[in-house]
């Protein structure tokens, strides 16, 4: 990986030589390794060293964006030149507010030397430990162990200078029996020394064993206890469809026209905090603006979305430091999202259910059915269990839900104190930290054969 000093010199030199009126350079450099296993055998084992450099330039209010993976003077210079040519040929972006000038973001600890030094043999040995746990239970495992070391730097021609180093490890273990019944567990941490592969495998194995011999139940409204991963998966879709200001401004978000109104239950508070090390912190965004803590939903009331400089200018507010990469233009979005914990334990939630389901996680959620109503669909997977009179009595076959997440999260009965951090399913830096939640009358609309 290109070192911090070399990267800084490359970017500042390129900035000085840019012919554009304004220039922003973002460098995302990484060395990522991933060991993937199935049937308790490693079937893919890969490593990549790459750089992703983005040049965003403005000529007046004409903007051009290019990216390259060439982290050298010639490659970056060519990218800036090409972006400038594109800008000159483009029409004006009337809403372009100019590049943001930002103070240096506070330093956060998101890097681990242990993670950075992990070898392929150590990853393989971790997989072997997980496989041994499954073997002892007569099961096989599949999953992946990803280890990444990342540097992110943002500089621009109005004086913004940011740099951040991070690392993370992500282990997913999926235990499966001969009938294809599965249970899964994951661990996500800055330091891989905080990941215990045998312990992760033990949870997956227990889930798989408990999920054996599932029975069919009729779809319909039923109380659910959603484990943290299930809620995290829903939050990822709300990040995508609702929590960014672009979605609100374009009328896609459920918050459009409803800020200040009650949209969820009183016991639901959702916020983004780039500096909270409980999750995976990232202190600034892809425009180099330091992240502010933003409360999106407070006690069920919609408080407002996260912003980048463009959406903030449109709304006449300040950027909250949540810009995405300029090359994607997806708009701003949360990166280190939290759902506030309550005062119950996860066991309390199960005990308080007369008849309901314990959901380990969801599969293939889609939140595009009706984004204004946050109408989502998806399947359960990896352990769906019937709760009767406060006890888990049997596994059930997987079900499809189709429900408004506003309606569902208005019916939250209780929230656990303990929370779990999940890596972003869709990649990139960031995480979702969620509690276990008890929701009344979650709407299931279909079932499958296993």
């Amino acid at each position: 990986m290109i070192g911090r000093d070399e990267l800084t010199a490359l970017l500042t030199d390129a900035l000085a030589n840019s012919p554009a009126d304004e220039t922003e350079l973002v460098a995302y450099t990484h060395q990522t390794s991933l060991t993937r296993f199935a049937n308790s055998v490693i079937h893919q084992n890969v490593r990549e060293d790459d750089n992703y450099l983005i040049a965003r330039v403005a000529v007046g209010k004409k903007v051009g964006v290019t990216s390259t993976n060439r982290a050298d003077k010639e490659g970056l210079g060519k990218a800036i030149e090409r972006a400038t040519e594109m800008a000159k040929q483009s029409p004006e972006q009337h809403d372009f507010p100019g590049l943001p000038k930002a103070e240096t973001a506070p330093a956060v600890s998101a890097h681990s030397a242990v993670t950075a030094a992990m070898t392929p043999a150590e990853r393989a040995d971790a997989v072997a430990k997980a496989a041994d746990v499954a073997k002892a239970a007569g099961l096989t495992i599949s999953g992946a162990y990803r280890v990444a070391n990342i540097s992110l730097a943002v500089v621009n021609s109005v004086g913004t200078r940011q740099h951040y180093d991070a690392s993370d490890g992500f282990l997913s273990v999926f235990a499966m029996d001969d009938d294809g019944i599965s249970g899964s567990a994951t661990a996500y941490a800055v330091g891989v020394d905080d990941i215990d592969p045998a312990a992760v495998a033990a949870i997956a194995v227990d889930k798989c064993k408990a999920a054996a011999n599932p029975v069919s139940i009729e779809p319909g409204p039923i109380d659910v206890v959603l484990e943290p991963r299930a809620t995290s998966e829903i939050m990822e879709w709300l990040n995508f469809t609702a929590f960014g200001a672009k979605q609100v401004q374009e009328g896609q978000s459920f918050m459009t026209g409803r800020i200040g109104e009650r949209v969820m239950g009183e016991n639901v508070t959702i916020y983004d905090d780039g500096l909270d090390t409980t999750g995976i912190p990232i202190p600034f965004d892809y425009e180099g603006v330091p992240k502010k803590r933003v409360t999106i939903i407070e006690n069920g009331i919609a408080k407002g979305p996260v912003h980048d400089s463009l959406t903030a200018a449109k709304d006449g507010v300040e950027s909250t430091g949540h810009a995405g990469m300029a090359s994607f233009r997806a708009g701003p979005g949360p990166s280190n999202l939290f759902i506030a914990g309550g005062d119950a334990t996860s066991d309390d939630l199960v005990k308080s259910v007369k008849r309901g389901l314990l959901i380990t996680r969801f599969h293939y959620i889609n939140g595009l059915l009706d984004t204004r109503k946050a109408l989502f669909t998806g399947m359960t997977r990896d352990g769906t269990f019937l709760i009767e009179d406060g006890k888990i009595t049997t596994a059930v076959k997987n079900l499809r839900f189709t429900d408004s997440m506003l309606r569902a999260y208005s019916n939250v009965e209780a929230v656990s104190r303990d929370r779990e951090t999940a890596g972003r399913n869709w990649g990139g830096i960031g995480s979702v930290t969620a509690p276990t939640m008890l929701i009344r009358d979650f709407k299931f609309t279909g079932s499958t054969e296993f």
Partner: protein
């Protein structure tokens, strides 16, 4: 670069590797998005690097880098070998590859008009006219027009002596109008949702879409959807239009026939497949009129190429034959496990990814007659098209699709428009209820540039040739 990669492979063989290959890939892409006449995205990306894949002690290793110096090529090959040795520490299952002939060849997508040589002004003119057309309808609040162009230059060399150079060019675009009235919001797109239609072709394909000419109608339909009735919930006959049927084929046929998925390599991520090997040649997948092939040679298909990323020639394979499940898409590693040879479907998303079994063009072969004939032959039902949402379980059985638009069919004619149509089913039951497929005159290969698979994530560009088809007793709407 070729000589460096060949030398790296040679040194890996000398160190005991059973097999090795290397790919050097240079990719260039352009994305243009105009919204309400303003340019939202004007972005060009380039990426170049190489990857080395090695089989040692029956296990795989892969390493890749964007730095193409001789020293680094040697270092990366060494890393791949170290990783392969680490892989061999777990499990006893050894990788064996099928036998393939060495190939020395070149391939290039036939291109009439190089999309990267067309001026930005020319491209923006098309997008601008499209936005203006959609915005003629007052309730259209967001008019989006976009186009994407891709060029991928690939060099493949293998320990078996293959040397293949390919240049793949892809182009396409689309428009979408979003109409709003109070809290009601409806989107209509052309020629397909999620950025349109794509082809292995030059800019002549994008020009042929004639986006601007379809803009007014697209905007008008978005506005009409605001006032349309909610699609009723009932079991009924459904005719599915081409753009939606392409995604139906993708999710319920294309993914479950990936033999690596069948063997469990995607189990922990997007799941496995109900098409287990015991069902090959033995499962009635659909009705007698359902014939599906995987064809990487279809002219213009977005999954068309010369050779896959294991150096196996592009080819056409039967997948479903007169309703029977007859074939998988396979790699050199997976095919021998069921006594077969690769059918050339290993594809990698760039130099920094290993190839996976991927869809090429998964085509539902045409039947006969026009869409009009199909509707005329239907007493009662719903015509539904243009995907809005998609979801399917982890064995690819229970699916639910939401679409942009539907129309009632009554006595052989289209009637009132419906909004928010959703339909659901179980894959073999659904395809078993297919009783009519329109003919070659309606058949088109829809290009989907966004098929996700694998960890680390990979995006493939795939095609689906379909013509509108009719299905009986489909559950439409969401159970209350």
């Amino acid at each position: 670069m070729k000589d460096l990669l060949k030398a790296a492979i040679e040194s890996l063989r000398a160190k005991g590797a059973e097999y090795a290959d290397a790919r050097c890939v240079r990719s260039l892409s352009e994305v243009l998005v105009m919204k309400n006449g303003e340019l939202e995205t004007a972005s060009v990306s380039e990426s170049e690097g190489f990857g080395v894949r090695v089989l040692h002690s029956g296990a795989w290793g892969f390493s890749s880098s964007s730095i193409t110096t001789p020293e680094n090529v040697t270092a990366v090959a060494g890393q791949a070998l170290e990783i392969a040795r680490a892989s061999a520490r777990v499990g006893t299952q050894k990788v064996l590859l099928d036998g393939q002939d060495a190939v020395v060849d070149t391939y290039a997508t036939p291109v009439e008009e190089d999309p990267f040589a067309v001026s930005l002004g020319d491209k923006l003119g098309i997008l601008s006219a499209s936005c203006a057309g959609m915005s003629k309808t007052p309730l259209v609040k967001i008019a989006t027009a976009s186009m994407m162009n891709f060029r991928t230059e690939k060099l493949f060399v293998s320990a078996e002596g293959s040397e293949i150079e390919q240049t793949i060019t892809e182009a396409g675009g689309g428009i979408a109008a979003t109409a709003m009235d109070g809290a009601e919001r409806q989107t209509r797109s052309y020629p397909a949702s999620f950025r349109g239609d794509y082809s292995t072709a030059g800019f002549e394909f994008t020009r042929g879409l004639d986006l601007a000419a379809h803009a007014e109608k697209t905007g008008r339909e978005a506005s009409e959807l605001l006032r349309a009735e909610e699609c009723p919930t009932r079991k009924t006959t459904v005719i599915i239009g081409g753009t939606q049927l392409a995604l139906q084929v993708h999710e319920s046929c294309g993914h479950p026939i990936e033999l690596d998925r069948v063997f469990g390599t995607e189990a922990s991520y997007a799941g496995t497949s109900f098409l287990t090997v015991d069902k090959l040649g033995d499962l009635k997948y659909g009705s007698d009129i359902v014939n599906i092939v995987a064809d990487a040679t279809s002219p213009g298909g977005l999954g068309t190429f010369g050779y896959d990323d294991e150096g196996v020639p592009a080819q056409c394979s039967e997948i479903v034959t007169e309703g029977m499940f007859t074939g998988y898409i396979m790699s050199r590693e997976t095919a021998p496990r069921i006594g077969l040879r690769s059918n050339g479907t290993m594809r990698a998303d760039g130099w920094n990814r290993i190839p996976l079994v991927r869809m090429t063009n998964i085509n539902l072969l045409p039947g006969k007659g026009s869409l009009e004939d199909l509707i005329a032959d239907t007493k009662e039902g719903i015509f539904i098209d243009s995907n809005k949402s998609w979801s399917i379980d982890q064995r690819r059985l229970n699916f639910q699709f939401g679409c942009e638009i539907a129309w009632e069919i009554k006595d052989g004619r289209l009637g009132r428009m419906y909004k928010n149509p959703v339909y659901t089913g179980i894959t073999p039951e659904f395809w078993g209820a297919c009783d009519a497929i329109a003919g070659p005159e309606e058949w088109h290969i829809w290009g989907i540039p966004s098929c996700g698979k694998g960890e680390p994530g990979q995006v493939a560009h795939v095609g689906h040739g379909v013509s509108p088809s009719r299905f009986r007793n489909v559950e439409v709407g969401v159970r209350r």
